[in-house]
């Protein structure tokens, strides 16, 4: 009897034991429920590969019924959300540079005049094409919109203008990424993703491991101060982070030919702030996690929304407001804008300010929590 190859009782004993342990490890259990729920919410509700209501500015140099019709039609299309009426070319340029708007619709001065003369004047659409995915659908929507937008205005004697290929022509100008090259967007963004992954997992693990193996107690019984231990453990990984960045930058330059318009030293300097943000998350996790498995799970729990809600994989502006609000909290979101801003748009510090302060605030808040909790775990 007892030599049977498979004993249901023995098998059941193991099953029962596993369930008891699973119940004890609340965090793991929470993650097992939490991660699928989070994925469901993100993929089901937040992600939208066809982003609509993109912020658009209008520069209507020609204040005619035609341009008013165009603005009206844009307002009522799903794709464009007119947030600004610009006054000058420089203003347009600034708006695009800082990423405040995705598109600028530019109606030239003599638009009405030339349209009425049947010269097919062009409307200029300037797009921030750093992320081709975010602009593609909107561009094609505008193309068909322009065909019929003036139908109501072209009545009576002007009706003949409708018959032609279109009363006006749409010219598009894709800034920063004229070839619509997805790599230009993904490869720099990858730096942020890789850093997030390494910095959070490795720091959370390194500190948790020290505690799990009991070596932390030993360390702290020597004259080594907690701060010295912490910094000493982190610095080597920052170095590793920079090596990763260096490799990706090399690949971006020589394999993918990603344009590098802005200042590399600026990028490397700003990166330190981003690394600090991730390290502070790692440290905070390490004060909560009781073992290395939990540390990895928590890192994953943070990594998932970072990748999905930051605008790395899916257009940020395509997400509903609540998802964008979560995204705004994540360091990766701001870092992506920074790295794309510097490499593709040539942003300087002033352009980056709106992304830098949230990162700084994040470090401050999370590090405070982490250090507070870290102190408690000693006593």
């Amino acid at each position: 009897m007892s030599c049977r190859a498979f004993s249901f009782r023995r098998f059941w004993a193991v099953v029962v034991k596993e369930f008891i342990q699973m119940r004890r490890d609340r965090l793991t259990f929470g993650m097992m429920v939490g991660i699928p729920l989070m994925q469901l919410m993100i993929f089901g509700y937040a992600i939208n590969a066809d982003p609509k209501h993109l912020p658009t500015a209008v520069l209507a140099a020609d204040n005619s019924p035609f341009s008013r019709s165009l603005v009206w039609a844009l307002r009522h299309s799903d794709y464009f959300n007119i947030v600004r009426v610009a006054e000058s070319e420089t203003e347009i340029h600034d708006l695009l540079q800082r990423g405040e708007v995705q598109f600028v619709v530019h109606v030239p001065v003599d638009f009405e005049h030339r349209l009425l003369r049947g010269e097919r004047p062009s409307v200029l659409l300037e797009a921030d094409a750093t992320d081709p995915m975010a602009t593609g659908y909107a561009l094609s929507a505008l193309n068909s919109l322009i065909e019929h937008v003036f139908d109501r205005d072209l009545k009576g004697p002007l009706a003949s203008l409708k018959a032609r290929a279109g009363p006006a022509e749409l010219r598009t100008h894709r800034h920063y990424n004229p070839e619509n090259n997805t790599q230009y967007n993904i490869v720099p963004g990858l730096m942020g993703v890789v850093l997030t992954m390494t910095m959070i997992i490795i720091t959370a693990l390194a500190i948790t491991r020290e505690r799990e193996r009991g070596t932390m107690e030993n360390l702290l019984s020597t004259p080594a101060r907690p701060f010295e231990v912490m910094i000493g453990k982190i610095i080597p990984y920052i170095l590793v982070g920079y090596i990763q960045v260096f490799l990706i930058l090399l690949a971006a330059r020589f394999l993918f030919r990603v344009p590098m318009v802005g200042s590399l030293p600026l990028l490397l300097a700003v990166m330190l702030l981003f690394i600090a943000a991730n390290l502070s998350v790692g440290i905070t996790f390490s004060t909560v996690a009781r073992n290395q498995l939990q540390a990895v799970q928590m890192a994953f729990f943070f990594f998932l929304p970072s990748i999905l809600l930051s605008g790395f994989m899916f257009p940020f502006r395509g997400m509903p407001d609540w998802a964008q609000a979560i995204g705004e909290v994540l360091p990766l979101t701001h870092f992506l804008r920074i790295v794309r801003g510097i490499l593709l748009k040539g942003n300087g510090v002033a352009d980056l300010a709106p992304e830098l302060w949230p990162l700084g605030l994040f470090v401050l808040v999370v590090l405070t929590i982490g250090i507070k909790r870290y102190r408690q775990t000693l006593d």
Partner: protein
């Protein structure tokens, strides 16, 4: 320093939440003394050691370790105290020499390389210097841990169950080493569950559930317990033990191999009960109470203030 006391603390108390883990414990240890610290598992020994070496701050109590205030001068104390944790707490993925070198760096030892070499030499670990610590057997790990916490030549050594899981030969060598170091003036505070080790200490303290129950030399501790013990030998001891338990004056019946130890605090009552409970074929003699009899008695009478 107060006279030649290396450790002089009073009223040390530590609470975790509502639990008082260490309750109002005093301790005076002379320089060059080996002081045994005993008590059941979870009695607060480790917590007490952690407070002495500055890892934890006591909730109440005060005192000095090597003349430094344990509340305000933890940093100074750490420089002159070696603490060996219960669990092996060095790096298993570093070699023996790398572990020692790391510790030597932490203490900022001058002449670090020589210090590491000397310590390897002294403990006979020189040939194994490049072996990963994780591949060492229990006895060798313990020697490494001792070498590491001695590398900065501390004046006080705090050892938390250093010989748990170590074979008798290694244990004996370890104690010879401790006695040699103590003879040179090192003060050692050591926790243990082994009676033979307790008997090798100059003085002892016994705590249970955070309270100090007794302290003094081995003889003093035995005397203070006021215990009388009878040893019974013969056949059918298990049944005899059951019969004796619960009789008037019999406080504990413990089997020691082929003999029973029956102890109590009232000699007359105990003797009457023992004689009444025995069969003719049993031999019984009055013997000296041993440390173990005393500790078991203390442990059983200590009120477990955590259990309901």
């Amino acid at each position: 320093m107060n006279g030649d006391l290396a450790i002089d603390v009073t009223g040390i108390t530590k609470r975790f939440g509502h639990r008082t883990v260490v309750n109002d414990i005093p301790m005076q240890v002379r320089q060059g003394e080996i002081y045994g610290f005993l008590g059941p598992n979870g009695s607060g020994k480790t917590t007490f050691l952690r407070m002495l070496c500055g890892l934890l701050t006591p909730d109440a109590g005060s005192g000095r370790c090597l003349g430094y205030d344990i509340r305000t001068e933890a940093a100074e104390i750490k420089k002159h105290v070696g603490y060996m944790t219960q669990r092996f707490s060095f790096y298993e993925d570093l070699t023996i020499a790398e572990n020692l070198d790391f510790v030597a760096r932490l203490y900022g030892l001058p002449g670090r390389r020589q210090a590491v070499d000397q310590s390897l030499e002294a403990l006979g670990l020189q040939e194994r210097r490049d072996q990963l610590a994780g591949t060492l057997s229990g006895g060798w790990k313990q020697r490494l841990a001792l070498a590491a916490c001695m590398i900065h030549r501390p004046q006080v050594l705090l050892l938390d169950e250093p010989t748990a899981g170590v074979d008798p030969k290694a244990r004996r060598d370890f104690w010879d080493e401790i006695h040699r170091l103590a003879a040179q003036g090192l003060t050692v505070l050591i926790t243990t569950h082994y009676m033979d080790e307790a008997e090798r200490c100059h003085r002892l303290a016994y705590i249970a559930y955070g309270n100090l129950l007794t302290r003094g030399t081995v003889d003093e501790v035995i005397q203070a317990a006021g215990l009388t013990t009878w040893e019974v030998s013969g056949l059918g001891l298990h049944a005899t033990a059951d019969r004796l338990r619960g009789r008037e004056g019999v406080e504990q019946v413990v089997a020691f191999g082929n003999t029973l130890h029956i102890s109590g605090r009232n000699p007359a009552l105990l003797e009457a009960s023992v004689r009444a409970g025995l069969k003719p074929e049993h031999r019984c003699d009055r013997v000296e109470s041993r440390l173990e009899d005393v500790f078991i008695s203390l442990m059983e009478t200590a009120k477990d203030n955590w259990a309901k």
